[in-house]
Amino acid sequence: MVIEERDVGAIVAEARAQLAAAHDEQELERWHTEFLGRKAGRITAFLRSIPALPEDQRRAAGIAGNDANRELRAAYEARAEALRRTRLEASIASGKLDVTLPGRKPQIGRLHPVTRTLRDLLAALADLGFQVAEGPEIETDFYNFEMLRIPQDHPARDMWDTLWLDPLVDGRRPLLLRTHTSPNQIRVMQQRQPPIRIAVPGKCYRFEAVDASHEWQLTQIEGLAVDEGITLADLKGTLGELARRMFGSERQIMLRHAYFPFVEPGVEMAVDCFVCGGTGCGLCKGTGWIEILGAGMVHPEVLSGVGYDPERYTGFAWGLGVERVAMLRYGISDIRHFYSNDLRFLEQF
């Protein structure tokens, strides 16, 4: 078949009209096959027929054919793009999400608030160069009391109401539940030479009636630093840094006199109230200060007891209750929450 040159114009006109009427991919593809298809496309057929034309007509037909081909391909691309866009817009419109619906959460668990607070404290202490040293919870009278200058029948024993374990040997009970983590300070000092810089965390137990502010099981951290040249001013500086790491970088501390048999001098440390800033509120009971911990310079007899020379070495020690720190930080008013393990409590941390 020979197609006249003028027919190309008619094909293009027809193709354009049909393209405008193609409203989906299928119609578009059908159109493409009809006009531009490699096998039976009408434009393709026209181009293929050119070599058969008389010599003088070939050039003009070639130009017209190629123009038509180019024009229709561009029109096809434009139409395809327009259809794609329409489809996308339609799908966006129909697939609109309520973005306020809850997401699918992976189930994650949580650490107990005492664990969290303990870790924060130990991290703060690591900053200050204190390494963790853990020790046994069941202790001997010797380590828990005697080595700390709390002899039998001394009124200072009243400061640590003790849970004792069976059996009774020669009228004395050799084992007890440690009332503080201090015995492990002794153990570490017995095994090592200064410089010592340790944080001793762990559970402690007291013979104490349970109420909103007292528990018989509690968690303590004690700190101990022993070396040449350690002073009470160093204690003050160290406790200040600890307080700022735990309660905010603005915190100020105050020391006041206190008595603990194993330190001399002994102090208690308070921070300025982080709720009211020191003007007085419910948390600080109007004083502007919150009691945090007991501390002091390690008593020379404690040092000589572990074989250190108290004239050469000095040291400081302090101890605080982890639950108390957690209560202050989170505003928990009842200590009994910690070990009753109600998920409604635990899940808040």
Binding site: H112, T115, I138, D153, D166, L175, I198, T231, L232, D342
Partner: protein, 801 residues
């Protein structure tokens, strides 16, 4: 200690308002826990009754005229004791007073009583809130200034201060006064101790024998004859009441007053009841008994110190007197005891008997022996002065080894070494002297410090350092940080493992709990077979707070199941709890420290969650619990294996022993419903338990790294049919042994008709990979052939058709 500021003023001038004084005491001495301010007594002032006549027709009312600061007022008064010439507390119209009739404060209004106008009121102690006494009006001393507001005249602020276990001196007004003096640069006025002893010499009228001088350093006795028992003076009663001590009679009040003043407990015996007037201080004999002043008949043991006469015990030394020698209405002559006992012995006795008294709480802190004679003199002086007694001349004073003065050398270097600052010689000297210490600077480098007799707690140089800094104030110290070497590394692998385990489990959706270390016997029995409990008897707390916390736990299972049960009422679709804690395993010798073996325990119960966070209906099962253990294993890189096992509280067939090599390190399984029933749990619970202590040496901190192969893997599925009892783990291991297998995973298990009875089909996804070349499908097929031959030989496995 309750510190009446009115009383304190007698020993030291108070230059600070109560709040500031309290603050100084808190910082330097002992915490002031409470400041009890006096009532305001708005509108109440001192007046004088000028005339007082009975109201005709009334049996108790008097018509009085009262001279007050603002003029004369007519007042109708119902008190029986009102009389002309008295100084009284006059409440003007508008004053706010406690009304005994209404039981609350009321504003005073003008009244007309029996047609007589009454402008105000003459107050009773009850109306003023001073005491419960409403018998009559409060009569003030004759020199009370008319017109002065009562608040200024009678108002007393009381500071309630804590006590330290080592300082008996702070349980005395004089001790507090010494602190206040040092803190405010004032001088202490000690009470005058002189008196006239008009009686005959005491020698020969009283003998004292201290049979056990190791428990009694000193025994001072005085005798006052012809005492007239009666109420003590108002000032003394007021002081005692402010101190929280009830007034009884003048003799007892004096002993209490002097105890509060000096800190030395005293005891007054009825001299005539002491047989032969012979006092023996000795240990009790076995089986001896004494009825103490509180009316309790007590059995004594030989380590208790007694005050006795030849007929037997008359007092429990340092703790409480005996009823048989108590002073009474008939008492004419007082035997006054001021003794010094061994603090530890008094403490042991009072603890043993459960009898603590004001006396024992002072003696147990170890009083100075020097104090006894001073307090004895003061008490005799007051008995002469107040009770109209005649003192016999002298005291019996058994004091074989007098208290030795203590001198401490404090070098300036030590002061600097402990405090980290220089303190001037002037500050040190002034501070110590203000506290009653002697202090001399001895050039070139030290202070000679003489400790006053009342400071038994100061014995070494550092004690003196504390005195200096607490009085000067800790604010003097700068904040410095530790210089010096970095301490040797102190590895804590146990803690490191525990904290890793916690992090992994929390990330895997489990909630950490912390439960009590001591549990009830009942709880232990629920999870431990009786024969196990008999073999491994838990350590028992002898003084538990309750039966709930009596035994040191040997397993964590009961605590966790209890916690799980407690949280079931929250109706959560799924619970996943865990705890790491030691169990306490006593050795054969129960007097040495037990093994504290650290365990991990976890429990799961409920259903998987759906898109909305609700239960999906698909129950959690054994493999959820095992999956957590596997996750731990993967992260800790131990390489655990599992095999079917039995456990006393877990279901057979649903229990696996967890092994590291051949070492059992834990268990995972479904809790037996019978056990759950003991905890009132009615749903399936899956439990896992790992012995962290056993795991510790096996954990690899650093992963075994192998380079990632550059050559792609060929993945082929392999479905096998084997006998039902062949453990899948064995097949996995066998396939994994091939050098060309880089990974093998099980992805299906099927039992049923299609594979036949007693058989199961297992489907594996096997990755073949070589480190040095790209494997072809043919390579993989060839290797699979080889593997299959091995499996067929070893397990009778067949390729599933």
């Amino acid at each position: 200690m309750r510190i009446s500021l009115e009383w304190l003023k007698e020993y030291v001038d108070l230059t600070l308002p109560p709040e500031q004084l309290a603050r100084r005491i808190t910082l330097a001495t002992a915490e002031v826990e409470e400041i009890i301010a006096p009532p305001a007594w708005q509108g109440v002032s001192i007046g004088e009754v000028q005339s007082c006549v009975r109201v005709p027709g009334s049996d108790h009312l008097s018509r009085c005229t009262v001279q007050a600061g603002d003029g004369i007022h007519q007042v109708v008064c119902g008190a029986p004791n009102v009389a002309a010439g008295q100084k009284i507390a006059y409440a003007a119209i508008g004053a706010e007073l406690f009304s005994p009739r209404a039981g609350k404060p009321q504003k005073l209004k003008p009244a007309v009583i029996m047609r007589i106008e009454s402008e105000g009121m003459i107050c009773s102690e009850m109306e003023l809130g001073l005491s419960e006494n409403h018998e009559g009006i409060l009569v003030l001393p004759a020199d009370a200034p008319i017109g002065t507001p009562l608040h200024d005249y009678l108002g007393d602020t009381v500071l309630v201060a804590g006590a330290w276990a080592h300082r008996a001196d702070l349980l005395a007004m004089l001790g507090i006064a010494r602190e206040v003096a040092a803190l405010t640069n004032q001088a202490v006025r000690e009470p005058e101790l002189a008196f006239v002893a008009a009686g005959r010499p005491i020698a020969g009228t009283l003998t004292v024998e201290v049979a056990d001088p190791d428990l009694c350093n000193r025994y001072v006795a005085g005798v006052v004859e012809g005492v007239k028992l009666g109420p003590s003076h108002d000032w003394m009663q007021r002081h005692l009441e402010a101190a929280g001590v009830r007034a009884i009679n003048n003799v007892v009040d004096i002993t209490n007053y002097v105890m509060l003043e000096f800190g030395q407990p005293l005891h007054a015996f009825d001299y005539d009841t002491v047989r032969d007037h012979h006092v023996i201080v000795r240990r009790a004999r076995t089986g001896e008994r004494l009825t103490t002043l509180d009316g309790v008949d007590r059995e004594l043991t030989p380590d208790m110190l007694l005050i006795a006469d030849p007929g037997g015990p008359i007092g429990l030394a340092g703790v409480m007197g005996g009823a048989n020698s108590e002073i009474s209405e008939q008492t004419k002559t007082i035997l006054l005891e001021a003794a010094n006992f061994s603090g530890m012995n008094i403490r042991r006795t009072s603890t043993r008997l459960g009898l603590r008294s004001e006396a024992s709480s002072r003696f147990e802190k170890q009083l100075p022996a020097e104090l006894a004679i001073k307090a004895a003199r003061r008490a005799v002086q007051l008995m002469v002065q107040i009770c109209g007694g005649t003192a016999r001349e002298g005291f019996v004073d058994v004091y074989p080894v007098p208290q030795q003065p203590v001198r401490i050398e404090l070098t300036a270097a030590r002061l600097r070494q402990v405090l980290g600052i220089e303190v001037s010689t002037a500050d040190v000297t002034r501070t110590l002297r203000a506290l009653g210490f002697g202090c001399e600077w001895q050039a070139p480098d030290r202070y000679l410090v003489d400790v006053p007799y009342w400071r038994m707690d100061v014995r070494i140089a550092d004690d003196v350092v504390e005195e200096v800094i607490r009085i000067l104030g800790f604010e003097r110290l700068p904040s410095t940080t530790i210089a010096g070497r970095i301490p040797e590394l102190l590895p804590q692998p146990r803690r490191a493992l525990r904290e890793r385990v916690k992090d992994i489990l929390a990330a895997a959706g489990a909630q950490e709990v912390i439960t009590y270390a001591a549990v009830s016997e009942e709880q232990l029995r629920k999870v431990t077979p009786a024969e196990d409990l008999a073999i491994l008897q838990p350590l028992r707390i002898v003084n538990p707070l309750s039966a709930e916390h009596e035994l040191m736990r040997t397993t964590l299972r009961g605590s966790l199941l209890e916690t799980l049960h407690d949280n079931l009422r929250l109706r959560r679709p799924a619970l996943s709890l865990f705890e790491t804690a030691p169990v306490y395993l006593p050795g054969d010798d129960r007097t040495t420290l037990p093994e504290e073996r650290e365990l991990l325990i976890g429990a799961l119960s409920g259903e998987r969650l759906d898109r909305w966070g609700h239960g999906s209906g698909e129950a959690l099962d054994f493999f959820d619990a095992k999956g957590l253990v596997e996750t731990l294993d993967e992260r800790l890189r131990v390489g655990l294996s599992y095999r079917a096992a039995s456990d006393p509280i877990l279901l057979d067939g649903r229990t696996a022993e967890v092994l590291a090599g051949e070492v059992p390190v834990g268990v995972v399984g479904q809790v037996h419903p019978d056990v759950l029933a003991r905890f009132n749990i009615e749903r399936e619970v899956f439990l896992y338990e790992l012995n962290l202590a056993a795991l510790l040496p096996l954990v690899k901190a650093v992963p075994e790294y192998a380079p990632v192969s550059r050559f792609p893997a060929v993945v082929q599925d392999l479905a096998l049919v084997v006998s039902e009892d062949v453990p899948a783990a064995d097949l996995l291991a066998a396939i994994g042994r091939s050098k060309l297998v880089s990974d093998v995973r099980l992805f299906d298990e099927y039992r049923g008709e299609r594979v036949g009875a007693g058989k199961k089909s297992l489907a594996f996804s096997v990755s073949y990979q070589a480190p040095d070349r790209t494997l072809t499908d043919a390579d993989a097929a060839k290797e699979q052939e080889r593997i299959l031959r091995g499996l067929s030989h070893q397990f009778g496995a067949e390729l599933r058709k």
